[in-house]
Amino acid sequence: MNEGSRQLAAAWSVLASQWLETRSHWRDAVALEFESHCWDELYQQINELMRAAERLDDTLSRALRSTD
């Protein structure tokens, strides 16, 4: 994993922990709206980005290893 991916994963981990903590205390219609419209989209988007970064990182690493 490259440095940028590590940074993103660390930032995400902090935010996700905070979300879980907040969600356990926040139980109203706005919480549901926030979860379905904001959080889920962010969660999906960051997963797709991390997967794409992982695939590219893996391909580049193998490419550089096999051609050295």
Binding site: G4, L8, A10, W26, L56, L60
Partner: protein, 303 residues
């Protein structure tokens, strides 16, 4: 208004975490892009080296002086060509994966630039609602500790850190000539014609809701803290510092309530309820927000 959050602190923590994440994530994606570009450049550099090597062996083969040398050159040339071909194969795969990554990175960048600020705004509105609710309902489910924690946490658009005290809304002092009028003392007949949000022609309902919220959380605490010293120019100055237009700023809200378009109520002799001369829509919004009273000028002939 029903508030089902046990601690306002948690919402504030989430709003802060979201803002921090937005900055860190943008930096991380910039780093990722740079690292991938650097690695691609390394691969491109290898392709260039391999191409030069092939070219050198072709030349060496052409100038070989005997069979053995030609055979040796041919072998090396074959190996160099194979390496060049392998590198080019990887370049194609890397190009495909890099394109896929850039699509995701661009979408994520849009989310950071557009959707995340909206999410943050939603949180801030909710916090503002709860702050107003907490200020109006001392015994609400928002804990005293949570209300106390609100103070000073949020930089206003101006960048100024404002510290409202957790007092009841109607305990805020009003400019001279204005009083808090309990909404229960205003005739409901006066508001019957404003049943739906579509009835807000002059100022949209959502704008009015925002106006009342900002009145409660940003204007009244300031007036209370600086009685009779703040005027429209004070709020214009705050708007200018915050880079807010007149339409979206505090000056307009201040003027609407305390200058040229204030809520005006009249109670005739022998009547229990006030009639509304001006400000029906604002009173309707105040009711919707669960306010107990509204700032107004009055002509009260009951007593």
């Amino acid at each position: 208004m029903q508030a089902e959050i046990l601690s306002l602190d948690r919402l504030e923590d989430l709003a802060r975490a979201l803002a921090t994440f937005s900055i860190k994530a943008a930096d991380a994606v910039t780093t990722m892009r740079a690292e991938f570009l650097r690695q691609r450049a390394d691969l491109d550099g290898q392709e260039e080296d391999a191409r030069v090597e092939v070219s050198n062996w072709v030349e060496a083969f052409q100038f070989a002086e005997d069979y053995d040398e030609r055979e040796s050159c041919a072998y090396s040339l074959s190996e160099a060509q194979e390496r060049l071909s392998r590198i080019r194969g990887w370049q194609v795969r890397v190009r495909e994966e890099h394109s896929a990554f850039l699509v995701q990175a661009t979408q994520f960048g849009c989310l950071l630039d557009q959707a995340l600020p909206k999410s943050h705004e939603l949180l801030m509105i909710r916090i503002g609602d709860l702050r107003t609710y907490g200020a109006m309902q001392p015994d609400s489910v928002v804990s005293t500790a949570a209300k106390g924690s609100v103070s000073g946490l949020f930089p206003l658009p101006s960048g100024e850190v404002f510290t409202p005290s957790p007092v009841k809304l109607t305990e805020h002092r009003l400019p001279d000539g204005f009083v808090w009028v309990p909404l229960a003392e205003i005739s409901e007949d006066e508001l019957a014609g404003i049943a739906s949000q579509a009835g807000y022609k002059k100022v949209p309902y959502a704008t009015m809701v925002t106006g009342l919220r900002r009145l409660a959380t940003e204007i009244l605490p300031r007036i209370s803290a600086n009685p009779n010293t703040l005027d429209r120019d004070s709020f214009r100055s705050l708007d200018e510092t915050a880079g807010e237009s007149y339409e979206d700023g505090l000056q307009r809200i201040y003027e609407a309530f305390f200058c040229n378009d204030f809520v005006y109520l009249e109670r005739r002799r022998g009547r229990e309820k006030f009639e509304v001369t001006n400000g029906r829509h604002r009173i309707r919004v105040a009711l919707d927000l669960g306010w107990e009273a509204i700032p107004a000028r009055t002509k009260d002939l009951r007593s």
